[in-house]
């Protein structure tokens, strides 16, 4: 049985809200990258509906695609809270560009928790590659989004490997990723596999055109009798649902952190505008109709960030983060949508013009209420905990 050998659990005694010096440095690194490399190109690549070809390598060279890979395998080895600090900064830069970069980190947890030693030795260093490793994780199918259990992709045994068939849709880097963790049903039970781009029968389906996160490639992964050699089963046969739920528990705070980044970007732009724009003889911020909106934005962003940190800290402490992660995801996503909508409003007519970045942030914000578990699914998760009287889910 694989274990959490590479994961250090750290329980910090007492309540604290100050990041360590190391965390601040990484946060500053991510912020500088976002400001220098993401912000200047965000509008152009949003318009083009494409990801700039050299950006992943640029991010990789400064460690922004490998920070969560355990140090023993060439990565930064940071915990969830630190990762959340980085995620917020990158999304503050551009959620679309950040989403592509960060997809690499999604594969870390499934490999660390469920991978064999051989799989970890083979794949984790690839994720940490200085050229960047385009990655994906594929659950969704045309008829199965929220209802993961209803997926129809199949797997059958073939010698020491497996043959997979089906199509995954709406996948970040779907069909173009070097490495993809794919969920398919083996004898009717969901099972996780590692699929490589060059495996026979693996192909890219259509590329989607989206409302926002346009610089992020979203497409179909087509598995047409895709033959995987031995060593690609991730976890045990039939353990896939557990792999999925474990993944979501770890990814939700990170996606929530990204939502906080978008909200903060929108809030900062709206506040700066409200200080400068004059109407009726005064800056807009002098009017409560405007300043109260900004005040509410600030409060909600602060609350969202703290919920993210709390969920991430629970993960770092080795505790159940299902309830806390759903709090964070639902609240941060809903906040980002509200904040971005109000930010456009503060800019008035200018807010809907492509000259200003706020309309893009509104288009980007919506996705967070949908991906990684819709805001409705998050409420369902919370409701499940309440119904059972849990604050932490009992571990099997």
């Amino acid at each position: 049985m694989t274990g959490d050998r590479d994961v250090q659990h750290k329980v910090i005694e007492g309540i604290g809200f100050e990041p360590t010096r190391e965390q601040r440095e990484l946060q500053a690194l991510a912020h500088a990258f976002a400001e220098r490399e993401l912000r200047p190109i965000a509008a152009e690549w949003d318009e083009r509906d494409e990801f700039p070809p050299d950006l992943l390598a640029k991010a990789a060279k400064v460690g922004l695609t490998s920070y969560a890979v355990p140090a023993g395998h060439g990565g930064g080895g940071v915990g969830s809270v630190t990762a959340a600090l980085i995620a917020e900064e990158l999304s503050w830069g551009c959620a679309g560009l950040a989403s592509t970069i960060q997809a690499t980190m999604f594969l870390v947890r499934p490999l660390v928790r469920f991978g064999t030693q051989e799989q970890r030795d083979r794949y984790l260093p690839r994720l940490a590659s200085e050229e960047g490793c385009l990655s994906a994780i594929a659950f969704t199918e045309a008829h199965a989004g929220s209802d993961v259990a209803a997926i129809g992709a199949t797997a059958r045994r073939d010698g020491d490997g497996y043959v997979l068939s089906g199509e995954k849709v709406y996948i970040t880097n779907g069909g173009i990723a070097e490495l993809t963790v794919v969920f398919a049903k083996l004898d009717g039970a969901i099972t996780a596999f590692v699929v490589e781009r060059d495996d026979p029968g693996v192909g890219a389906g259509r590329k989607e055109r989206k409302l926002g996160l346009r610089a992020s490639y979203t497409g179909s992964l087509v598995l047409d009798e895709a033959r995987l050699p031995g060593g690609r089963l991730l976890g045990e046969e039939g353990q896939g649902f557990l792999v999925a739920m474990d993944f979501f528990e770890h990814s939700r705070p990170q996606v929530a952190a990204a939502a906080v980044g978008v909200a903060r970007a929108a809030f900062e732009a709206a506040t700066a505008y409200a200080r400068e724009r004059e109407a009726f003889g005064k800056p807009l911020i002098a009017k409560q109709g405007v300043s109260f909106k900004l005040a509410e934005m600030a409060m909600e962003i602060e609350a969202a960030r703290l919920l993210v940190w709390r969920a991430a800290a629970a993960i770092d402490a080795g505790r159940d983060a299902g309830l806390l992660g759903s709090f964070a995801k639902a609240f941060a996503a809903d906040t980002a949508m509200r904040v971005a909508t109000d930010a456009v409003q503060v800019l008035g007519g200018a807010g809907i013009m492509r000259d200003h970045p706020v309309e893009k942030w509104l288009r980007d914000a919506k996705v967070f209420q949908i991906v990684e578990g819709t805001s409705e699914i998050q409420r369902q998760v919370v409701a499940t905990y309440l119904r059972h009287g849990w604050t932490e889910r009992p571990r099997e």
């Binding site: 989004g145 989607e208 409302l211 004059e278 109407a279 949508m337 809907i352 000259d355 309309e359 949908i370």
Partner: protein, 391 residues
């Protein structure tokens, strides 16, 4: 009219006459046949819908408020709402382009002399000519008194200098009503209104603006460099410009609000239908309260918004002051449309985010209703003033 003084209509009723139903059906059919098939493409490519405008003109769905004496249908505000909701249900970008003449011609209809009306209105009915309303400027949106465009009198003429921003149809209009200052230092009290043909020397459409939503409407920046207009192009007296603008906006405000209702209704219909078809966890998602409560709230908001618009339109047709009710209608309808369209995308989940499905466009379109023709914040300001400092 005695009935107006007493504030009495024919009693309270919510039924449309057969004539009104026929008008609404005409508009709905037009929206379905001529607007919907072009909605996605014109949005993607930011296409000015000249062909749809021409068809709407032919069918009699434009220039509804031009009085019969000048060749128009002479419809009141309320009947215009019945048409407006359907056109915007079709596509708010295309709908705005079709109905914008109401705003552009409004100053002429409300304040033009008989001679001015005869000059500017009949041609609108003969051909699909477009006219625009030139109020906003880069530094003056909500704060109309900040207008910097000037009109300097020179003998029998005025020389106009300045630039207007965010003007609907300016890139295709035959004439624009330009609000300019004829007396500096008097703020909004120094404004006057002029009909300015766009083919005059010095009129320059500077930039077609690229927008988040309602992309099939041409929205432009237009500059006036020493544009000379005859004095006979001035509407009303010098200094009446603000009054003219506000009077026209009072009339058109319910028409804009009902547009938000049309967009919200389109989003609601798509979401309700999808929720019945999409299966998850073994049943249509509509079976979950998390989803059907969202839909229920959408429907209530749309119903309430429509009734607020109808009330404002009815009051205007009765000749009564409708400032408070118009502001209720605009503020509530616009904010509701934003909420409803956002929730519609949510109900579609991942599909809602894709351009292949119609709801993300509706969300992008909805935002503008909270901004133009008086932001939701200005509406609240007006409402507060009407309630706390009644005239």
């Amino acid at each position: 009219m005695a009935t107006v003084e007493q504030g009495v209509g024919g009693g309270i009723s919510f039924g449309l006459t057969d004539e009104q139903k026929a008008l609404r059906d005409l508009a709905r059919e037009f929206a379905e046949k001529e607007i919907r098939p072009r909605e996605a493409e014109y949005d993607e490519n930011q296409t000015h819908p000249a062909d749809v405008i021409a068809k709407a003109h032919e069918v009699g769905l434009m220039n509804l408020h031009v009085p019969e004496a000048y060749g128009g249908p002479g419809l009141g505000c309320f009947d215009g709402l019945l048409v407006g909701e359907e056109l915007y249900w079709g596509c708010s970008g295309i709908g705005t382009s079709i109905t914008c003449n109401g705003l552009g011609a409004g100053p002429v209809i409300a304040f033009g002399s008989d001679e001015q009306k005869r000059r500017w209105l009949p041609p609108l009915l003969e051909e699909p000519i477009l006219c625009s309303f030139g109020l906003s400027e880069p530094n003056a949106g909500s704060d109309v008194s900040g207008i910097q465009t000037t009109a300097v009198r020179k003998g029998d003429e005025y020389v106009i200098n300045g630039s207007k921003m965010f003007i609907t149809n300016a890139g295709h209009a035959a004439w624009v009503v330009v609000f300019a200052s004829t007396e500096k230092g008097k703020g909004h009290k120094g404004l006057s209104a002029f009909v300015v043909p766009t083919d005059l020397d010095g009129v320059v459409v500077e930039k077609h603006l690229i927008k988040m939503g309602q992309r099939s409407t041409d929205t432009s920046a237009i500059a006036f460099n020493d544009v000379v207009v005859p004095g006979s192009n001035r509407l009303g007296e010098e200094g009446e410009g603000f009054k003219i603008a506000m009077t026209v906006l009072d009339f058109t405000r319910p028409g804009t609000a009902i547009g938000a209702v049309g967009v919200a209704r389109a989003a609601f219909e798509h979401a309700a239908q999808y929720s019945k078809e999409r299966i998850a966890f073994g049943q249509p998602i509509a079976m979950n309260q998390g989803v059907n409560f969202l839909i229920a709230d959408m429907a209530t908001k749309i119903e309430a918004a429509r009734l607020l618009c109808w009330q404002a339109g009815w009051l205007i047709d009765q000749g009564q002051r409708a400032t408070l009710q118009s502001s209720h209608a605009k503020r509530f309808s616009a904010d509701s449309a934003m909420e409803v369209t956002t929730d519609a995308v949510q109900i579609f989940g991942g599909y809602g985010y894709m351009k292949e499905y119609p709801v993300e466009k509706l969300m992008r379109d909805a935002k503008l209703f909270q901004i133009y023709e008086g932001t939701s914040q200005i509406q609240r300001l007006v409402i507060a003033r009407e309630l706390l400092m009644p005239k």
